[in-house]
């Protein structure tokens, strides 16, 4: 039915079926060009109508950019065709939309193939992490000495905000985007996602948000940090704040679309025999995460829409002098803000659980217990947002229930640790780079989780809220645990996605530099927080100077680790060893398809008869590496052995 792709295809620059014009239009090139034209035209129109309202000019320009960008990249072609064409998509047209025979160009077009979307997400996430880490190093530079020496306080506030939102956006998509798109459909035995065009839409919405966000650098920046608290967000008279709000709106739509896609795919497109009970933990983690996102992100969206209406149309949702309330913003924001960290956490925790089984060649210790804990975390996390508001002065009567629920989340989290520690215990532990990151994640998550208790407890939160203790806590959880989990997934699935092996020595170097630098930086910041250092300090008081200097020195190690990782990726792509289809001996379905993965994933859809964790339960075999025959391109034409009972 479908041709297998050959290794030659990836190297072709202009495939012979296409002219350059056909590839460029529609593509990201035409999208950007048309988007810029649209933004400029709309800007001048609005400026003529409202010469004094800079926020209106900028927000409408962004709207113009978005609509024209999507027109230019061909996002509306499907709708146009549905409305006006005389026939539905033929198979050829659908495959063309999926990037067949387009070589590398398919990554720069509105391509629906989930593997292409996954790669696009991967590249974007890495870029976002890199740029966000530049912000982090700037922050540590400024905080290494007292006084606002390297940057003005205004520039520093913008840097802090940019670092925050770039990293938050990157963390939200870092597992569900690249691996949730590339790997998940193969893992459940599907040929693609349920809504391939929406898949492309979700990615390109994220892409379209990036220039919108970066424009804040030219519009005065924004002073609020990533939380965007009104009324400070509404107060600013330069339009830099609008860039942040609009970015969030695009991003929230992107994640909503992606969430609907993932949920539908998992519920509907599982292959025969893959019951929900047999679903791999990774798929559960991603699905629970996007359920949570679907609940939470609309609140974020509406909070930013309201900030924008306050700014552009001078409404007063958050302006107390005119009847509004800043507590409204805080509740809307944190109703998203807390589930959001579990949106980040659940996929990374699921990746760690998967990898702990693979690299100890042992079934997951208490798989149902683990899944139960992930589901409990998902449900409880919706109910805890008030713990960000303990000291806000609002509804003190609810402080106790919020504290109860927040502390309760530690119980399922404890089961997560029990499951992973039990999986590694008495396993045959193959220490690879992915496993190193899993181990680092467990260590960091313990510290992060325990320090969360300090903040969940009302009396200690009184003295710790708004200080560097909070910053260190959430870095330990979001970075030390979740980013480490994402890196574990990155090193694990890189061979499948890109066909090359990452250099394990550089990978180990990346891990150790990152872990040591990370521990040094953020343990010092815990200390500073205990002493009482407030957050968002462009000017670090001399009382905390030593702790901050030590933190900045350790941050140099983190920087070195980032550059080592970048080097690793570059040389591995250029000259790395070619990876096998079954790189690690894992048992989930993506390792049964060849590398590079064919356009439609499977020649015939597999039939599943158990879970992917039944190590040690089949007869032990001495058949060389792995317990099943890896599928190679030569054998793809024959019926898959899985199809035979």
């Amino acid at each position: 039915m479908s041709e297998t792709t050959t290794t030659n295809e990836a190297a072709v620059i202009v495939p012979r079926h296409y002219t350059l014009r056909q590839l460029l239009f529609p593509s990201v090139v035409s999208g950007v060009v048309l988007g810029v034209v649209g933004a400029v035209v709309v800007y001048f129109i609005v400026r003529a109508l409202q010469p004094d309202n800079y926020d209106a000019q900028v927000v409408f320009a962004y709207t113009g950019w978005t609509l024209f960008f999507f027109a230019g990249i061909g996002a509306f072609n499907g709708i146009w065709r549905w409305g006006f064409a005389r026939h539905d998509d033929t198979l050829e047209e659908a495959l063309d939309l999926a990037g067949k025979d387009q070589g590398l160009w398919r990554y720069f077009r509105y391509t629906t193939d989930h593997k292409v979307v996954g790669m696009q997400y991967l590249a974007t996430v890495l870029v976002l992490f890199f740029v966000g880490s530049m912000g982090a190093f700037s922050i540590r530079l400024e905080q290494s000495v007292p006084g606002a020496i390297f940057f003005t306080p205004s520039t520093y506030n913008t840097i802090v905000g940019m670092h925050g939102i770039l990293m938050i956006v990157a963390s939200i998509v870092m597992v569900s985007g690249p691996f949730g798109n590339f790997v998940l459909p193969i893992m459940i035995g599907a040929r693609d996602m349920a809504f391939p065009r929406l898949n492309a839409l979700s990615y390109w919405l994220l892409f379209a948000a990036i220039p919108v966000f970066l424009s804040t650098l030219f519009l005065g920046g924004f002073p609020t940090g990533w939380t965007g608290y009104a009324p400070l967000a509404v107060q600013g008279l330069t339009p830099g704040m609008d860039a942040y709000c609009f970015t969030i709106i695009l991003f929230a739509i992107s994640t909503t679309v992606a969430a609907l896609n993932i949920i539908t795919t998992v519920l509907v497109l599982r292959t025969k025999g893959m019951t929900l009970a047999r679903l791999p933990i990774f798929v559960w983690g991603v699905m629970l995460s996007v359920f949570l996102g679907l609940t939470a992100f609309p609140s974020f969206l509406i909070s930013q829409v309201m900030v924008l209406t306050d700014r552009v149309f001078h409404t007063s949702f958050f302006i107390a002098a005119n009847g509004g309330s800043n507590w409204l913003y805080e509740h809307l924001f944190w109703f998203m803000g807390h589930p959001e960290v579990y949106v980040i956490a659940l996929p990374a925790m699921a990746v760690a659980a998967e990898l702990s089984a693979v690299f100890s060649r042992k079934t997951v210790f208490g798989r149902r217990m683990l899944l139960g804990s992930l589901i409990t975390i998902c449900i409880l996390s919706v109910l805890v947002w008030g713990h960000h508001l303990y000291t806000s002065g609002s509804n003190t009567a609810l402080d106790a229930p919020y504290m109860l629920d927040t502390e309760l989340i530690s119980i399922p989290t404890g089961f997560f640790f029990l499951a992973l520690v039990g999986t590694l215990w008495r396993g045959r532990i193959w220490i690879t780079v992915p496993l190193l990151f899993v181990a680092g994640m467990l260590v960091n998550f313990v510290v992060g989780g325990i320090t969360g208790i300090y903040l969940a407890d009302l009396p200690t939160d009184e003295i710790l809220h708004g200080g560097m203790f909070v910053t260190a806590h959430f870095h330990f959880t979001l970075v030390g645990s979740m980013v480490f989990g994402a890196f574990a997934g990155f090193y694990y699935w890189f061979p499948k996605m890109l066909g090359r092996r990452l250099n394990p020595r550089l990978g180990a170097l990346h891990f150790w530099l990152f872990e040591i630098g990370f521990l040094g930086t953020f343990l010092s910041l815990f200390y500073a927080g205990l002493q009482g250092e407030p957050r968002w300090s462009a000017n670090v008081s001399p009382l905390y100077a030593t702790a901050n200097l030590i933190a900045s020195l350790f941050a140099i190690l983190i920087a070195v680790s980032v550059f080592v990782a970048v080097y690793n990726v570059i040389i591995s792509l250029a000259r790395g060893e070619v990876a096998t289809a079954d790189e690690w001996g894992a048992r989930t379905l993506e390792w049964t398809v060849p590398t590079p993965v064919p356009l439609e994933n499977f020649a015939t859809l597999p039939e599943v008869k158990g879970t992917a964790y039944e190590y040690g339960l089949s007869e032990p075999v001495d058949k060389g590496f792995g317990l099943h025959e890896p599928a190679t391109p030569d054998t793809m034409d024959a019926p898959s052995p899985q199809a035979q009972s």
């Binding site: 002073p223 400070l232 009302l458 009482g532 407030p534 040690g616 317990l627």
Partner: protein, 271 residues
């Protein structure tokens, strides 16, 4: 063969002892009792850690100068002491596994499966729940104690946050603070009544153990707190409020009652 061929029944093996080891496994008699070893390490390190924590942590924490602050510092020590065995559980088991069970290269065989016995899960749930419940009850009790204390003759200080300074007013004396100094008498309960003139600020005096947001158009209050030590302490803003947020600072001076009275008089008030 791939997992697709594995009989589904194998997945529901009862939690009995694992199948007999394959010939490649170490004979049971020569294998060290890993579990006992790791438990010993865990217990020993936990005891050392908890004791070290009790003695060393007070040196790390900043001095407190109030009754609330003492409770908060004590709570931090308590939480850390309780956290040490929990953290070490993960660290010790993880490190031990990584050393004792590692193989040098890609494994040729699987490890024997381990399934948690129901008693382990129930016991784990029980222990973590008890710990969690203890923390919740402790926190609630401490919180309600500080929230409900209604001392006699408290001092009330109105705090106004503005971009980017704090101003203080003593309504009982009709006196404003001088400069960036918040002067308080020792051993007298004080309550702060806080508001903002523009955006959100966070009024925080760590040594007094109080912290509350300053909201525009709203008035929020802190619990009653009593300064217990004479000295000078920082008052900071902990909610990002714009350009000079990190410069928004005042100095709390706790002085004896007579000094405070003469200060009030010098400002034109009546003590």
């Amino acid at each position: 063969m791939s997992e697709a061929n594995i009989d589904a029944n194998a997945g529901s093996v009862a939690p009995t002892p694992p199948p007999p080891p394959t010939p490649a496994a170490t004979p049971a008699s020569r294998e060290p009792d890993h579990f006992r070893r790791v438990l010993t390490i865990w217990v020993v390190l936990s005891v050392i850690g908890m004791v070290a924590c009790i003695f060393l942590l007070p040196y790390i924490l900043p001095p407190t100068a109030s009754n609330l602050g003492s409770v908060d510092n004590f709570t931090i020590v308590l939480l850390t002491v309780l956290a040490i065995p929990v953290a070490l559980f993960v660290f010790v088991f993880l490190a031990y596994s990584m050393f004792a069970f590692r193989v040098r290269e890609r494994p040729r065989e699987d490890a024997l499966p381990l399934k948690p016995r129901p008693m382990l899960q129930v016991g784990f749930l029980g222990i973590t729940s008890v710990l969690c419940l203890f923390l919740i009850i402790y926190g609630l009790v401490a919180y309600y104690q500080e929230a409900s204390a209604a001392p006699a003759n408290p001092l009330v200080v109105q705090v106004t946050g503005q971009q980017w300074t704090w101003t203080f007013y003593y309504p009982q004396y009709g006196v404003s603070s001088q400069g960036q100094v918040l002067e308080l008498p020792v051993n007298r309960a004080v309550q702060f009544v806080v508001t903002s003139k523009d955006v959100l600020h966070g009024f925080a005096v760590r040594t007094l153990g109080v912290r509350v947001d300053a909201n525009p158009g709203q008035v929020t209050t802190t619990p009653y707190t009593t300064p217990t030590a004479i000295g000078q302490y920082p008052v900071v803003c902990v909610e990002l409020c714009g350009l000079y947020h990190s410069y928004m600072w005042s100095s709390l001076k706790v002085v004896d009652q007579s000094t405070f009275n003469s200060w009030i008089t010098s400002q034109g008030g009546h003590p």
